[in-house]
Symmetry: C2
Subunit: 532 residues, 2 copies
């Protein structure tokens, strides 16, 4: 190949040495530039000068302004670099041979294997006739038959809220998880991952452009993106990095008082934290519920990482609310809670199957009916994903034929996730001017790039010149030197003048971590004044 290659989607010219080249792309306002245009339409079809096709000025500005860093500019460049490597394996001119996707929690894209229990049942649901051809455990066959008898073909639309049997099973799981506190199947909605639930909730709660949502900072950018799409106001409350990313209820109360013109609708809580990996204590949760009770705002508890706990204990918000209601019913009777779960994360890691649910507590039935209508407009969530949700929350029990393998696979994945978390965490501890809290749960680390301006004049000056943040520069150079794709902290929110990055710890092996360490040393050597 020639020494230059065009990245077709981003329009960049990548020379044999990429370093520095990605800056121009990052600082442009385009996400992607002109597509390849193929026959029979000549190129100017897309760019005629007369009655032009709609431009971004002509469309919904909320959709233009929404940002979603997890699949934003850096991951788009990473995708194109991957294509380049695949198309020119021998001579792509890049200083690495593969892209390491640490930008998104996508376990099975890396090397996590699906659980046999899930996939055996799902294969029967897809083609029931195999039941007599395959040597699956009896409990696999029994469960498949039970699901088929109840939901019929997974090719039929289900009830808009999800198949009744599956909602009943989820309600039993919640009741058991929450120490016997009742869950009503009627208040469970099966959703396409937890994202669809967030979308429904924020859509109904955004009554006008003064509707406010309290979100943790750093946050999972689905929240800011969806708030932007609904033309509502995100109000961030900072998590306390120096106190293991804990939640400060006083700051939340202060924000509520400081913004009398905002109609606060909901308080979003992500527990275990994404991107922080922290876990809330029972006291933290009580404080948050107290705020909801006092201000009449909805609690949205994003608990999709409840299975990924390495240190401490996950306590659901529903459980704490139920306990508080027993103690002081009058105080808590109006608390409205929506809690979310998903098949995408945890040891399941079945992101592509799009399973999830939300449970509503304390909502007015009229409001729940509007959610039902939104779910109906979307017809139903994918039925195989609904079934997977059931398999996840109602797994084999001791004594079942599938149990030993299920137990061994889940334990092994759990141990492996913890080992990977520790490995990357320890690597960050050893990197100069990086600080990192010990991960307690979820799939991510959110280390601080502790590059003080007095030590890193060159870096700050480069940032000013290129109109980029410090964390943008770090992530760009990490990608173009090592192929590791992670996300600048500014995509998640951070205290002003602090810089972080979010990375999953999912990629396997030591090699990528070693390569990161070497890059980091060079980066510090390149930019730190005391090194010169």
């Amino acid at each position: 190949m020639s020494s230059t290659t065009t990245l077709v989607k981003s329009g960049l010219i990548i020379p044999a040495n990429t370093v520095g080249i990605l800056y121009s792309f990052m600082t442009s306002t385009r996400v992607l530039s002109p597509p390849r245009v193929a026959s029979p339409l000549p190129h100017h079809y897309y760019f005629s000068t007369s009655t032009e096709p709609l431009s971004i000025k002509d469309i919904n500005q909320q959709t233009v302004q929404a940002n979603y860093a997890v699949r934003g500019k850096i991951p788009i460049i990473a995708d194109e670099l991957r294509d380049l490597i695949e198309k020119n394996p021998a001579s792509h001119g890049l200083p690495f041979n593969k892209i390491i996707n640490a930008n998104i929690g996508n376990p099975q894209q890396l090397d996590q294997k699906p659980l046999t229990w899930y996939r055996q049942v799902l294969s029967i649901l897809q083609y029931p006739s195999i039941i007599n051809q395959v040597n699956f455990p009896q409990d696999v066959k029994d469960r498949a038959i039970k699901l088929l008898n109840n939901i019929g073909s997974i090719g039929a639309y289900s009830h808009s809220q999800g198949a009744p049997l599956i909602r009943e099973s989820i309600a039993s799981f919640i009741t058991k998880r929450d120490n016997g506190h009742y869950s009503d199947p009627h208040n469970i909605f099966l959703t396409s991952g937890a994202s669809a639930a967030v979308s429904y909730l924020l859509q109904i709660l955004s009554s006008d452009s003064q509707s406010g949502f309290l979100i943790p900072i750093p946050q999972y950018p689905l929240y800011t993106a969806t708030i932007a799409l609904n033309n509502a106001v995100p109000v961030g409350y900072f998590l306390d990095e120096n106190n293991n990313w804990s939640t400060n209820p006083e700051e939340i109360r202060r924000l509520l008082a400081q913004h009398p013109n905002i109609k606060f609708k909901a308080l979003v809580v992500i527990n275990p934290g994404n991107p922080t990996g922290s876990i809330l204590t029972r006291d933290d949760i009580v404080s948050l519920i107290d705020i909801a009770a006092e201000y009449g705002i909805v609690l949205i508890a994003d608990e999709v990482y409840q299975e990924n706990v390495f240190k401490g204990e996950f306590i659901s918000m529903k459980r704490v609310l139920s306990e508080l209601l027993e103690i002081n019913h009058d105080k808590y009777r109006n608390v409205q809670l929506a809690s979310l779960h998903s098949t995408s994360k945890g040891v399941s890691g079945e992101c592509g199957q799009r399973g999830g649910y939300m449970e509503l507590v304390g909502f007015h039935s009229e409001v729940r009916d509007v959610l039902f209508k939104l779910a109906s407009i979307n017809l139903c969530s994918v039925v195989s994903g609904q079934a997977l949700m059931e398999l996840m929350i109602n797994p084999p029990k001791e004594g079942d034929e599938s149990y030993p393998l299920y137990k061994s696979e889940t334990s092994s994945i759990h141990r492996d996730l913890q080992a990977r978390a520790d490995l990357l965490y320890n690597a960050f501890l050893n990197m100069e001017d990086i600080k990192c809290n010990k991960p307690m749960g979820a799939m991510y680390l959110f280390p601080k790039l502790d590059f003080a301006e007095e030590d890193y004049h060159l870096l700050y000056s480069r940032a000013r010149q290129s109109n980029l943040q410090i964390d943008d520069i770090y992530c760009i150079e990490l990608l173009e030197n090592t192929g590791i794709c992670c996300i600048p902290g500014n995509g998640f929110g951070q205290v002003p003048d602090t810089y972080h990055l979010r990375t999953t710890f999912l990629p396997p092996g030591n090699e990528w971590i070693d390569s990161w360490g070497q890059f980091h040393n060079k980066f510090v050597a390149k930019y730190k004044s005391t090194k010169h």
Copy 2:
């Protein structure tokens, strides 16, 4: 059981004889009334008088106002009646023993069997280890391996637009379908059914409350619902019932001229028609493309029923546009077309698997990038649904081991659909004061309730008293007398002072059609003056 039964969700008291009782529910503004409230939360938790939970007055009014008749009030009542029958099979007190869901095109909820080809491949994708245990045809195994090699685990997130191999395969299908006119995989988006594509398109195009969408009347109510959610303006163009529900381009031009204050964004075309079952001619399509070229509005071609054609020929809008571009490039170079397809309909009928795609032509790349961002916020459409889409548009070929069975199953389903369509159509021809166009495609009939006021004084008087439409009354009485659930035409739109209903022709057998005929005779006898 007692002679009365409470329908818990709708709050209705159903006596042994239901007739007439559903009216009060239909005329209430509630969709559903208070839920069962279970311990530990006492009933007043939901209805406290102090700081109340959010009511529908406090939430997004667009979500409150959106209507979606396909799963609206009548289907909700039908669901509850089904529960009642299941819980009290011996003594439910209803004059029928099952609910016939003719309200929604859901083939596998009725008795349509999934195609073996699809389900065998999908079962391997779920659990690849079965490949050596099952006696599937070699081409099934080969396709599964090809998909697995390319997309990896279906439990991983794919590219936001869908797996590249699948987009390439869809582009080849379109190119072949459209007589060699090129389709670019880069412009294909895999979506969760076609509904998600409609949602993305209407969301980006709704730039403010003056954004207008031309939609056919009658229409599939997803369009009005989504337009309402986006606070945009639906402008209906009437299809010509007397001319087999054809499209009148002059009326569309007249509407464009009549509404100078509306910023028209798109012209929605449903072909084959839902709910009309009509098919557009090439000339019709040229006229519609001419309007799009002249006014610079986007064409949204909902072509999900393209496989369900019984009479005439389906011609895709993309094909006609490509042909026009060859003839007169300057005139058509700015036409923007989004065409939609789905795995839910046709002989596939895999609604619950949520497969679909949209192809964009002529869109500015910046606008396409915003669609890409929306798709990214939703991460990806379900990957098994993406694979199903590939299996649908790239089925076994003559000579492949699977081909004979595939051919025999698809032919049989197609013949069966046509036979059911004819059966119901002929039944309507024989019903007094019902008119119906012969179905050409899709899954529905939209017969006219030709009840002139001078003949049906009693009916019109009842309608005025109960604040219902004539078609509401017909559908309510049909449901409560026969268990057949179909939808009043007013949920789809109709010329003022005309009344229709939409029904699928999918339910099997003659029995339900006979029971409808008997009901109809009684209805006419009850309400028609000349019968008294």
